[in-house]
């Protein structure tokens, strides 16, 4: 049961949603686009992919895991008790304007943080209260490859509502019950006409068409294990990498983090912050040993994690959504598609019998 929203009513609709949700939407800052709390009158930028996706709304770049305070015994200051507090501040949040690939990133997060032996209570608290209204891509950028990794320009995974931009408005479809409620709650949304639906469908089909043909990544785990000790391959692939964190921080699926303490006087907090597996410090041990001391090892682990380890642990789900941000924002334009296809095409040495 598709609905229709006029372009002109979009701001009004988001304001209405603002009554129940804290609404985030993409806005331009400098030449970049990021998701920020929506307020009326602020220009949205939904004509191109946001530079940094909505990941930080559910997985903040920095969050307090806990606050602690050292409390002194009145009588004996040498005796200190420590109070630990956890602030539970998740509120209903609506993410507006994510792309299907962005929304699919939350799928990976769900796998990593909620479908494992120990679950991340902070992420879950936010995820449960989040609604995601995505916009289908009717045009694909040069860096787009969602179809390679199981997504689509109009993919619905991770979204509650999918909007398709058509002439002068959006065709809105609910994906989940939560989405249905979102669409039902406003008079601004009318029933979509068959013409509108047809137009949307055509646009989406064209977007599908515009994407390059998807290679088959079924064999990737095997290929990547086979290439594990081929350091020449990885050194050449990583040669131009400068080990910054642009790719990981902008990636909708990268979920590694760091935990550090800060203390001022008797108070302090334990912070969870985004971390970057391309940095040498990520695995640096106090002893001086580092299992991934060179960038070749780190790129191997990053690609391995996305196309081999994560799929192995999560029913074949590749931990890449093909949004292309890591390519587009890479200071040296390192192209993960090229790394993965090279790995795929690499001929592995014949099975070595000694190697079990």
């Amino acid at each position: 049961m598709a609905k229709y929203l006029k372009n002109d009513d979009l701001g009004q609709w988001l304001s209405e949603l603002g009554a129940d949700y804290k609404v985030y939407a993409p806005v331009q800052e400098g030449d970049s686009i990021a998701f920020r709390p929506f307020s009326k009158g602020k220009a949205l930028r939904i004509d191109r992919h946001a530079t940094v996706g909505p990941k930080e709304i559910l997985f903040p770049a920095c969050e307090e895991l806990l606050r602690f305070s050292y409390q002194k015994d009145e009588e004996n200051p040498g005796r200190e008790n420590i109070q630990v507090q956890v602030e539970e501040n998740a509120t209903p949040t609506l993410i507006f304007g994510s792309r299907p690939c962005d929304a699919r990133g939350f799928d990976v997060f769900d796998g990593a943080f909620t479908q494992c032996s120990v679950k991340d209570s902070y992420y879950i608290a936010r995820r449960e209260q989040a609604a995601v209204v995505s916009i289908a891509c009717t045009r694909t950028e040069n860096t787009c490859f969602c179809n390679w990794v199981g997504g689509a320009p109009d993919g619905t995974n991770g979204s509650d509502v999918l909007l398709t931009p058509i002439q002068e408005g959006f065709v809105a479809e609910s994906i989940t019950e939560k989405g249905e409620a979102l669409l039902a709650g406003s008079n601004l949304l009318a029933e979509a006409t068959p013409e509108q639906e047809k137009e949307a469908k055509a646009l989406r089909a064209a977007a599908h068409e515009s994407l390059p043909e998807a290679p088959d990544f079924e064999c990737m785990p095997e290929q990547l294990y086979g290439l594990f000790d081929n350091m020449d391959f990885w050194e050449k692939q990583s040669a131009k990498c400068i080990s910054c964190g642009a790719c990981t921080y902008l990636c909708p699926t990268c979920h590694c983090f760091n935990i550090t303490d800060e203390r001022q006087g008797n108070e302090g907090e334990r912070l969870r912050t985004w971390d970057n597996c391309m940095s040498r410090q990520f695995t640096q041990e106090a002893s001086g040993h580092n299992p991934r001391s060179e960038k070749a090892y780190r790129l191997k682990n990053r690609v391995g994690h996305k196309f081999c380890y994560f799929p192995e642990l999560h029913k074949g789900h590749i931990a890449c959504v093909g949004c292309g941000r890591c390519i587009k924002s890479c200071p040296v334009s390192l192209d993960i598609r090229q790394v993965v296809t090279s790995a795929k095409e690499c001929r592995l040495p014949a099975e070595d019998n000694d190697n079990e």
């Binding site: 920020r36 709390p37 307020s39 903040p60 920095c62």
Partner: protein
Amino acid sequence: MPVLNGRELRIVGFLCNWCSYGGADTAGVARFDQPTDLRVIRVPCSGRIDPLFIAKAFMNGADGVLVSGCHPRDCHYAEGNYYARRRLEVFKQFISVLGIEPERFEYTWVSASEGQRWQEVVTKFTNQVHTLGPLAPIPEVALSQLAQTTGTDIREEA
């Protein structure tokens, strides 16, 4: 709590042990009255002062920073204040681009015998910072989070 009832501002002093810290001692011994805003950090030599300590002080809420060392040629370590002079001068000229008035930071030379001069320096600098008033603090959490807690979008106002 340095900002005593609004009467004081936060002024950080970095003094070399051999000359200026001694100069401040000399001023004390001579009972030369001084404003109370300044808090002194003792370092061995003005050459020890990485200008970034000063930047850090400003980031954390200092309203003024005063550095003082031995007069050129008199450095206990022979060369420390020569390096300091270059670095501090560069830093002083740099901070205007950050939006910090250069007058919030001064560096000067006071010897251990110059108690009177120390009194003058402290008084003059403190007055200078008071003329500029407090420096707005730089937020420690993301602005968007600030918006969340205050319920207003400060971006919009800015």
